[in-house]
């Protein structure tokens, strides 16, 4: 018997190792490509290892694009969106889940309807609002439309709904008003939900391409993903340079993932979505 379990364990490990290689391969390929010459990247059959590591590719992107402003804009806008969503979505979600008020269901359905509409539909109206506010080509244009989301409200509402009524009643007996119940009692209890929302928002914020590209024009007001996209040529693209830029763009996210791995996995398994 011990033998059998040993071999089955071995099998599981082999499967896991293969899975891990498949997952990591694109990243390794990205790093290898970022060190090739332009000629090597277009070679067929592909070369795996560059003949000579082209470290200057990194210098090249760093000099041709204002990476420091990209980092700053991306970090500031992502952070602001995460905090905004955690605050605003949880407030709205609390109201939808725990307060009975006339028209609540109607309003909730109205908000859900926003979830059903593809994001591209909002592009033009949101752009017009930004233009009217004279906010085109500013960093707040990146932030403000992302401060609230129907998804976040829906997600957190489910968490608030699952909390027992007794806690709320006990708090009320002790003289708490709604805001105090929300802030002191409920928020600490839905922490896993808040964490999941924060993770999703930061991933979306970090990767969002179309909106920053449309609303902002000058390089020093771009985010990383939008700035990287501008490395693509019309007829051909220097993939080595593009990949070097990509490595520079994603390392913060990889670092965060490594440090917050447990929370990432928890957040995703709780909500059951990616």
């Amino acid at each position: 018997m011990p033998n059998a379990s040993k071999s089955s364990k071995g099998l599981i490990h082999i499967v896991l190792i293969i899975g891990a290689i498949i997952m990591v391969f694109p990243f390794i390929w990205m790093v290898l490509t970022s060190l090739k010459t332009f000629g090597e990247t277009t070679q067929v059959p592909p070369v795996i290892f560059p003949e000579k590591f082209q470290w200057e590719n990194y210098l090249n992107v760093f000099n041709s694009l204002p990476f420091l402003s990209f980092y700053w804009n991306t970090i500031v806008s992502t952070l602001a969106k995460v905090i905004g969503q955690v605050i605003f979505c949880s407030l709205a979600a609390y109201a939808f889940a725990r307060i009975k008020f006339p028209g609540r269901n109607f309003l909730f359905i109205l908000m859900l309807a926003v979830l059903m509409v593809p994001g591209q539909v909002f592009l033009l109206p949101q752009y017009m609002i930004m233009a009217k506010l004279d906010w085109l080509n500013t960093i707040q244009a990146l932030i403000v439309p992302g401060l609230f989301s129907a998804f976040g409200t829906f997600l957190l509402r489910q968490f608030f709904m699952s909390l027992p009524k007794e806690i709320e009643e006990a708090a009320r007996l002790d003289g708490c008003n709604h805001f105090q119940i929300y802030w002191h009692i409920m928020m600490p209890l839905v922490k896993p939900g808040l964490l999941a929302l924060a993770i999703f928002t930061s991933l979306w914020g970090w990767n969002d391409l179309l909106w920053p590209l449309i609303v902002n024009s000058s390089p020093d007001k771009m985010t990383l993903s939008a700035g990287l996209a501008s490395l693509q040529g019309q007829h051909y693209t220097n993939y080595a340079i593009l990949m070097a830029g990509t490595v520079l763009a994603i390392w913060p996210m990889i670092l965060i993932f490594i440090f917050l791995q447990k929370q990432f996995i928890e957040g995703i398994s709780i909500t059951g979505s990616k």
Binding site: F38, G39, E40, T42, Q43, V44, P45, V76, S77, L79, A80, I83, G84, V86, I87, L123, L124, Y127, M128, A131, W135, L136, N137, T138, I139, Q140, I143, W183, M187, P188, L209, L210, L213, I214, S217, S218, P219, A229, S230, L231, Q232, G233, Q234, H235, Y236, N238
Partner: protein, 418 residues
Amino acid sequence: MKKLCLILVSVFLLCLVSACSNSESGSGSSKVTLRYGIWDKNQKPAMQKIVDEFQKKHPEINVKIEVTPYDQYWTKLETAATGKSLPDVFWMNGPNFIKYSSNDMLMPINNLTKKDKVNLGNYPKALVNLYTFKGKTYGIPKDFDTIGLFYNKKLFDEAHIPYPDETWDWDKLKAAAKKLTNKEKGVWGIAARMENQAGFYNTIYQNGGYVISDDKKKSGYDQPETIGGLKFWIDMIKDGSSPTQAQMTETTPSALFESGKVAMIYDGSWMQIEYEQNEYTKDKVDVAPLPKGKKKANIIHGLANVVAANTQHKKEAQEFLAFLGSKKASLIQAKSGTVIPAYNGTQKLWVKSNPNVNLQVFIDSAKYAVPLPSSKNTSKWWDDETKILNKAWGLEIPVDEAAKTLAKKMNKDLAEEH
């Protein structure tokens, strides 16, 4: 928890404050800033040089280049046009030109030509016509591209076939493609790829056919000559001189050419840089004029610089536009080797930018070139082309049937434009 929340909220406020204070405060001086929208990263260095030259002459004008990748450029431009915030000066291409000019988004350049700032005789006529709508010209040609027959010298030597030259016609090409094909080695004579600008549009016009009528109201796909231009390619897939459509979907035709699997490929002048830098093709590639069918023809397309109709700095934008159309600006582009400059006479410098390949072919082809077909909503029938012709290229339906279906669909699209 309380502390954490407090920290989070204060960070949030800090972010907002810093974001707002970061916003444009305006330089305060009377300097005018022009926005110049382009889509090709590879051309940005040359554009920056042109801007620098311009600013030397006009220190009161500041030009900011905005690069948006091609895939998002048109989405952005359309949004900006609706929101009335188009860049002051920007790149335009043939397929999109009529859409913008017919919606009054572009400023006609007649007052520049009147004041002798710009002489349209300096640019190839086909290009000026491409940017003329209802008798008014809206753009100054910036560059152009034509199509050539790229070939792999090594594969020709091995098959003992002389290199293609200007005497070649369709029959010679087909015979050579057959001879170059070597099933054992996995080499095909030609890549009969489904590609309009660099592919079947050329052969349609070489065969005396047309894609769209001059009044932009009728499709030419039901004409026997047009169908003949499509057949040219499909015949070569049928007789095995070209990889199948499935094989060319799996590996792109240019990748097949870059790995010595395909001996010949029709491609645009823009590809010479990539073929020249590829490790495999760099010492094997050369280019010849397209073989003639019933007559010589070649598809020419080029970008133009245009000024937005609602720019706030009309005078400065037009000043910059005129400079972009100048000989000096064309020479700067020519030196970079990225594109063929539109200003007549400056192309020689581009030809010299890569002496290993006979680039003169692309310049000579412009003499008998046809402008890239377009209408008000070009992308609509381009989509139809891809969808319907794909079946013909995949040998699922006969080419006549595909062409006639396409003609019907395209006529419907064109009717909707008016």
